[in-house]
Amino acid sequence: MARQAEQRFGSLFWQAFIKACGYASSVLVLIIVLFLFSEGMGLFSSPAIDRELVAAVHPDNPITEIDEETLHALLGEEITTWADFRSAKVELVNVNNLEKKLKAYGLQGRPEDVLGQNFERLPLLLDSMLTVHPGMLIILQPHFVPQRAKQVNVGHISLGRFLAGRTWDPTRSPSPLFGALPLLWGTILVTLGALFFALLLGPPVAMYMAELAPKPIYRWLKPTVELLAGIPSVVFGFIGLVVLVPNIQVVFGLDSGSTVLAGCMLLAVIALPTIISVSEDAIRAVPRTLKEASLGMGATHWQTMIRVIVPYSAPGILAAILLGVGRIVGETMAVLMVTGNTPQMVGFDFLASVRTMSAAIAAEMGEAPQGGLHYKSLFAVGCLLFLLTFIINLVGELLVAKKIKQR
């Protein structure tokens, strides 16, 4: 009796454990999304200025808040006078031009000598400069800003500028530029190119494996494709670096072979196993009756493939391609190693160097101080990457699921 009770308790415990694990792993995606977005969205509630810096102006200057747009215009010297403040000339003082400004004000010698070892006398000096140049805009650490100056709020970084900004310069001081468009375009360009090569190889090979390959050959082919899927992407990246990159450099006569093209070729190989095996399943799912009807009417095997099998399995093949695209978009190491890693807008130049979203995260996260703007911006890029792959995979999965239901 006691033994039975013990067994009963044991089975109840294990059943509870099984259920707990099941529910836990099904909410895992939500937890990942939560963390990713709470870090990433933090970017859009941060002022568009390095977090240890503040902006300050003359106490009589009526401005109380500078939005992101205006700040960049001021820093780029596109705005040179204060509209609301007697048209006073804007005199920008920040870390980059401090020495020059001091010289212009008539101070000779090294700033350390004039201002003290830790720049202790800087606030005092700025105070007197403020009287001469009422249009001064000071962007410095808070303890260098003179008492009299009025601190102004700097507007938040906007989602629009993040998505549409054409410059990715996350370490620019004092106001970094987080335009993710070059990264997004890098990813899109590499994906398009990779897709070209993958489409050339994937579906025909899947068709061969499902329809034509004799059994002994198939028995070798299937593990071969699986093995290709198993090779780590860093190994592909390494091969790309020592084989593809030097050859591309020679063939196209470039300064560096690290190009979009090299990334495309590698990524196509990486996406191939996914595309081949999902397409193969889709082709195998075509009902025999359909095929036999076509063959029975005198169509050749090839005609049957093109006119019957391909149209019937098209949604499945499309799903395979989408899942392949999902892999390409998220792939990191191979792309990081061979595409040259320059965040720039390149148009449709496949021989240029780009930095993709995933590569940006991998390359820059190591240097980004925790909790800073750069750190948050990389999480925001991660969110964008996640959303992109999530949508692509979701559509792919839905297509596969629909196909299975039809059967």
């Binding site: 089975s11 990713l36 090779i231 998220g330």
Partner: protein, 285 residues
């Protein structure tokens, strides 16, 4: 009529040729790495020594140990959750929209880019839970990455058990749980193990999730605890190939490291295939 057959012959020839191209790519990658890496791999010091002279000589011993430990931690953690979760999906999960939702979630979990897992692991394990850059943080990050793979294989393996087996067990008075634990699981186990073995290959070769959760650039001593940093083979290969001070000198070492990774993946695939074929014959599934 003739032209139709000609078309067919051309088309089939093209398909055969393209298949050959894919096989050739794989063969090239393997042979190229073997050819250039065999020299390093055959030397004993490559396996037992630490990297020396800013990674232009010596071996990869700490990276091998690091990768083994990482794999052990992540696979153990993943199996602990994923196998019960897979059984849950196959046996207990209520049918209907909830099940569909969970299915889509798991599938999408599998599609999340590995670098995003790295970000998540960094936010949660390294910073949030305060593990720092450590074996534990990296191992758990990798565990979450392979979770969906093991869940899927377990679910599929359990679901494909023939009805007769279950019916027989229920008919002699076994409870549902007894049927699962004594009849279904033992039969499904070989396939689950196959899935786990393939996951080992994935975990051992993955670089992006460990970039900022565990990987050390250069760390000659072995980790002493779960909270230590460690070197890892894939990250070591990355470092050797992109940021070596003397690329020419470290190239043989890089090829050697790549070859170790290839041997690992190749070996695991062979073992998985062997188990699959062996049990296919044994159980006639």
């Amino acid at each position: 009529m003739k032209s139709h057959h000609l078309n067919q012959r051309i088309a089939f020839g093209v398909m055969k040729g393209l298949t050959l191209v894919v096989v050739a790519i794989l063969a090239f990658v393997i042979l190229y790495v073997v050819y250039h890496g065999i020299g390093s791999v055959l030397s004993w010091t490559f396996w037992t020594d630490v990297p020396r002279e800013s990674m232009t000589s010596g071996g990869v011993f700490p990276a091998i140990v690091g990768t083994l430990l990482l794999t052990l931690i992540s696979i153990t953690a993943a199996c602990l959750v994923a196998i019960p979760a897979g059984i849950f999906m196959a046996e207990y999960a209520p049918r209907g929209w909830l099940k569909t939702g969970i299915d889509i979630m798991t599938n999408n979990l599998a599609g999340i880019p590995s670098i995003v897992f790295g970000l998540f692991g960094m936010a949660v394990f390294v910073v949030g839970l305060g593990f720092g850059d450590s074996l534990l943080a990296g191992g758990l990050t990798l565990a979450i990455m392979v979770l969906p793979v093991i869940i899927r294989t377990t679910e599929q393996a359990v679901r494909d058990i023939p009805r007769d087996l279950r019916a027989a067990s229920i008919a002699i008075g076994a409870t549902r749980f007894q049927t699962i634990s004594r009849v279904v699981l033992p039969v499904a186990l070989p396939r689950i193990i196959t899935g786990i073995i393939l996951s080992i290959g994935r975990v051992a070769g993955e670089t992006a999730p460990i970039l900022f959760t565990v990987a050390a650039l250069y760390l000659p001593q072995l980790p002493h605890s779960l909270l230590d940093q460690a070197m890892a083979l894939p990250y070591h290969l990355y470092i050797l190939s992109v940021s070596s001070p003397e690329p020419d000198k470290s190239l043989p070492l890089a090829f050697g490291t790549a070859l170790i990774l290839l041997i690992l993946v190749l070996g695991l695939n062979l073992v998985a295939n062997f188990i699959r074929n062996y049990y296919k014959k044994k159980f006639k599934l």
